[in-house]
Structures are given as structure tokens and as C-alpha cells.
Symmetry: C2
Subunit: 224 residues, 2 copies
């Protein structure tokens, strides 16, 4: 059988940090962070638990790693484009990615050591704002609102009890039923007259909010 080595530095192709993190993402996508254990991860990789620990120090490092992978998947604004469309695209991408990996949102809070993709992401966004003409102070303002909105929206989406807009009535109806009569009148009105109507999709609220934020920021620019 032919050797598989193709040069001076060709190891055994086994289990790299990279492969571990990818697998960890799959497992988390399938079963949430709670379902991501060293053992489930090892099973996914077709390997015994302790093998993993030769490539990462501990589970926290895995969690940090997959958060950074998530940031890596988010589109960055282009250097050349106008700031508004570029930031809109980046924000939409962020939202889309976070929707695909809902566990990422809750990890954001507990991870305090940002990886390279995370830093790059922040760097490029800040750069876009500065180039658009925002002062350093206003850049701080702008980035804070924008990020807060995107993360917050993702957090809300992640905590929705339904995945598909079509599922809403089936899920919402029993919840409304269980509410004590007249206790939450506005909530009931809101649910029956809006949320449970056909065509409702919470995700649609994203564009509204994003435009509101970007408009507000634009106003900040012209005032100077």
C-alpha cells in the first residue's frame, strides 16, 4: 500500500484541534450546549474521550473555540462599500449565523477570552465606522447599540419556543389558554391578533430594528 506521506511534514491526519472544534459545533447544533460533552464529542469523532485532551486543554477551551468559529462564519463588511449597506449586511449575516447556532448566544456571555476571528470581527466593524466618519466616541456609541441589538435579537430568537413560523399557533394557543382569565389582557390581545395570525414571523422584526438603529446612527453623522 502506498505511503500517505506527501512531504517532510505529513503527520497521521488524525484528530486535530480543528476537527475537534468542527465536531463540537455539530454536536452543539444537534443537542445544544448541554448535549455537548467530552464523551458525546468523542463519539462523534469516533474516538475515546481522553483522546480529545491531547489537542485541547479542557472543555472551556472547546467552548471558546466554537464561539470563535461562529464569529468566523459571520460575513465582514467590505472595506470599499458604503458604511450603511455594509453594516446591514454584516448584521444580517450575524443574525443568520446566530440563528443557525442558537447555543452560541448563551456562550457569548460566559466566554471572556476572544479568539482571533472575534477580534478580527470587532476590528473590521470599528474600522468601518471610523472610515464612515464617526469620531472615536461616536464609534463607541454606534458599535454598542448595533451589537446590543444584534445579540439581543439573536437571544430573543433563540428563546422562542418555536422554530418555524408555521408552528406558532400550535405552540402559542395552549400558552394563551393557560393564562388566568383577564390577567394578561394585552398579552392575550397581542398573541391572538398578531402572533397567531398567519404570516407572522418574528424574524421579520429584525430588518425593522436594524433600519431603526442604522437611521439613528446616520442622523448622528449629519449632525456634526
Amino acid at each position: 500500500m502506498a505511503k500517505r506521506s506527501s512531504g517532510p511534514a505529513a503527520p497521521r491526519t488524525p484528530l486535530t484541534r480543528e476537527r475537534i472544534l468542527r465536531a463540537a459545533m455539530s454536536v452543539a447544533d444537534a443537542g445544544g450546549v448541554a448535549g455537548l460533552t467530552i464523551r458525546s464529542l468523542a463519539t462523534e469523532l469516533g474516538v475515546k474521550p481522553m483522546a480529545v485532551y491531547h489537542h485541547v486543554a479542557n472543555k472551556d477551551e472547546i467552548l471558546d473555540g466554537i464561539v470563535d468559529l461562529v464569529f468566523d462564519a459571520i460575513e465582514l463588511p467590505a472595506e470599499e462599500g458604503e458604511w450603511q449597506p455594509e453594516l446591514r449586511r454584516a448584521a444580517s449575516s450575524a443574525r443568520a449565523v446566530l440563528k443557525q447556532h442558537p447555543w452560541a448566544v448563551s456562550l457569548l456571555e460566559s466566554r471572556t477570552s476572544p479568539g482571533p476571528a472575534t477580534l478580527r470581527h470587532h476590528d473590521v466593524i470599528i474600522g468601518t465606522l471610523r472610515r464612515a466618519g464617526f469620531s472615536v466616541t461616536d464609534t463607541a456609541h454606534a458599535y454598542a447599540v448595533l451589537d446590543a441589538f444584534v445579540y439581543g435579537f439573536a437571544l430573543q430568537e433563540a428563546s422562542l419556543p418555536f422554530d418555524e413560523p408555521g408552528d406558532v399557533p400550535e405552540v402559542a394557543a395552549p400558552m394563551v389558554e393557560r393564562m388566568p382569565e383577564g390577567q394578561y389582557p394585552h398579552l392575550v390581545e397581542f398573541a391572538t391578533e398578531h402572533v397567531m395570525r398567519p404570516g407572522y414571523d418574528f424574524g421579520d422584526e429584525f430588518d425593522f430594528g436594524l433600519d431603526l438603529v442604522l437611521d439613528g446612527l446616520a442622523r448622528l453623522l449629519v449632525e456634526d
Copy 2:
């Protein structure tokens, strides 16, 4: 010794669901959600672990419970006031409470069965928006942005690696040092020229963002 019974229904005053949830909050405040275990909770209560399970079904119920306690602590807008100041007050309160209990933010995502205080909170906010004159659709828009911003901001605050504004330089300086030369130019500029300057406090960004959002919503109202 006198009996302690003061009527027909005077139980033993021992370990109620209420006391358990309060204690769980304290433990989480002290050591984060990770530090909240049935055993640590039992210790805090001066009781053995299994005693807890006579008042709650499982740990998830405790987590749901303390999330609802957090919502309970958030001020509600008053029925009589004007919508803008009232929502501003409610949002500020939410942010303050979430800052005190940073673990709550990450729990929001994983909990899908809202408690009474949570429902009340939503109900009153929706009511405030409706009374202000927002249509049902616009109420949905408005609530989504506002909540996204508040939660997102809380999420950002919770993931800051420092607690006190004064600590910033000590924490940020080594992070900047560790960044590869020229890799993140905007980030470095931002850190050195803004974040590490005396007087910087990320929390100050909240009011800016909140005003931006509320202004945007007000504009929505007059356009009709």
C-alpha cells in the same frame, strides 16, 4: 412552651419554594450559574440536598424560578405616565437588574416556560405601547427592538472582563499587548484612545442607545 400555631393553617415554617428560589439567587449571584448546584444550594439553606426536591421537581424548575424572580425585580412602567419616560425607566431598571444578576442573561436563552412575573412584564410593556398609540404591528416592532437592545446590552455588559470602570486599563492593557502587531489596528486604536482613557465606562453607552431607540420609535408614531 406556647404553640406557634396561630390559626387553622399554620405549617412548620420550613423550607418553602420561595426560600429555595431566594437562596438560589444568592448562590448564583455569588458564583454564577455554574456555581449553583443542588448541593451548594442545600448548604446555603442549611439543609441536605434531597430536601430541596420536595419543593421543586428538578433543577430546571429552579432555573425557571430564578429567572422569574429577576423579572419580578424589574420596575414596570406606570399606567398613567407618558410612554417615553416610562419605557425609559423600565428599560433602565431592566438593565440595572440584569447587571446585578449577570447569570440571568444567559439563562434567558435556555428557559422557554415564562413565569408569572415574566408574563406580567411583557403584558405591561405591550399595554404601554398600545396606549401610546402604536398599532398592534408597530407594537410588535417596537417591543422587539427595545427588548433586543436591552437584553443585548445586558449580554455585552455581562461578558465584559472587568466589573469596575477603574479596572479597565489593567485588564485591557495585557490584551492589547498580546495582539499581533498590526493585526487589529482599529481595535488597538479604539482601546488605547478610548477604552483605556480615564473616565471610560461602558455602561454610559446604555443611555445613548436607549435614546436612539426611543427616538426612532417616536418617529414611527408621528409618521402615522
